[in-house]
Amino acid sequence: MAEKPTIVKCLVWDLDNTVWDGTLLEDSDVELFPGIRDVIVELDSRGVLHSVASKNDHDMAWQQLEKLGLAEYFVHPQISWGPKSDAVKEIAERLNFAQTTIAFIDDLPTERAEVTFHAPEVRCYAAEQATELTELPEFSPEVVTVDATRRREMYQAGFRRDAEKESFKGPDEDFLRTLDLVMEIKRADEVDLSRVEELTLRTSQMNATGVHYSDEALRGLLADPDHEVLTVTLTDRFGPHGAVGVLLLRYHQNVWNLKLLATSCRVVTFGAGAVILNWLIDQAAKAGVDLAADFRPTDRNRMMDIAYRFAGFTNDPADNLAELDPPAGEGVQRLHLAPTPKNAPNTMQLIAPGLAADLSRRTDGAARG
């Protein structure tokens, strides 16, 4: 079986004689090549971002893109007289994408060669290939999730957020409070899980507990009364962050076992991990149970390790951990915490189910029936 190609996450377009027919400086009324708009819209709907690397007068070129109704599709456009390899590298850096996930399309072989020379990992395409791109495997993600179709919207909301943060003079927490953040933790259904799949696929974006659960395994636990599969979404006044986290919890008599907690890197700076943990600790305190969190250190989940430790989880031995199933997998530690009630977060609004209340209603019902 052929190895699957790395999916392109951002396609960088040349403008003159690639997007439009002609040279803007010579003809201020250039028209789009046929089919270009469809390619841009289609890739955008698959979650592929678009950008621009064009040697042009910036204002003039951008006005033309606006006139053609395409400007909104392009993120971090680089329109200047500098080398295109610099433009492409700048775009990758701003998006925090590896160069292997960037593609570049230009009608001039010299420009493609220049990009290849200085950024060899960037994949280059000739302008005449433009209308065939949507057929290529590297532009065809296997799963197009709800969040992928809104990826550009989420990135653009992110840029506006970052710009405001830079101009904000004051502590980070005060800034967070200006965002009107709303976190929703909810019991997952099938649709929610497909959004979380996006998180699992984009593993480079993740801080996981280091313990992997397949989408199938999580789906199988949706109806299990001893397990909770929970998803986390976050929005703010700039727009949605999408599905940003997933939890798998297993109820035992005296202990709740947090088997999986994964959050998107995008929301680390909002303290999302700590807010989720705080909520869970408070629920466990209400239910009068201890918490045990499965954790396997990896080179990517340092933030989660710190979140656990700062929330008070330790490696100290505890008697009531004996009733738990053995940890799933090698090198998995089981961190322990005796919960105490916690205050609601002061940086965001939290909407979440009452796990402790629901559970006690259930056991009451079972005792009566």
Binding site: K169, P171, D172, E173, G271, A274, D305, I306, R309, G312
Partner: protein, 94 residues
């Protein structure tokens, strides 16, 4: 950033940390001020602190050392850095 590691003293660490904190939380702090009870820094900022200490002083803060109490004040962070620097032996990267 890690050039002056050999000449680290409690005083120089404190000074650097006070500067770092002042810049980040945009208010002056005292070496013995409890950063968390005063509400000055969040648990999220605490994570940035951990990463900063590790990068600036070439140490690894893991397991039991990652507890809240070690990060409460500039003084407790300073002793943590000195202890971990000592434990890792004399720097061999001259």
């Amino acid at each position: 950033m890690t050039a002056e590691l050999s000449s680290l003293t409690a005083e120089s660490i404190q000074k650097e940390l006070l500067g770092f904190l002042g810049e980040r939380i945009k208010t002056d702090v005292e070496p013995d001020q409890d950063l968390f009870s005063s509400g000055l820094v969040s648990s999220m900022f605490a994570m940035q602190l951990v990463v900063h200490l590790e990068e600036a002083y070439d140490i690894a803060i893991v397991g039991p050392d990652l507890k809240f109490d070690n990060f409460r004040t500039v003084e407790t962070m300073t002793s943590l850095v000195l202890r971990l620097r000592d434990a890792s032996g004399p720097a061999d990267d001259a």
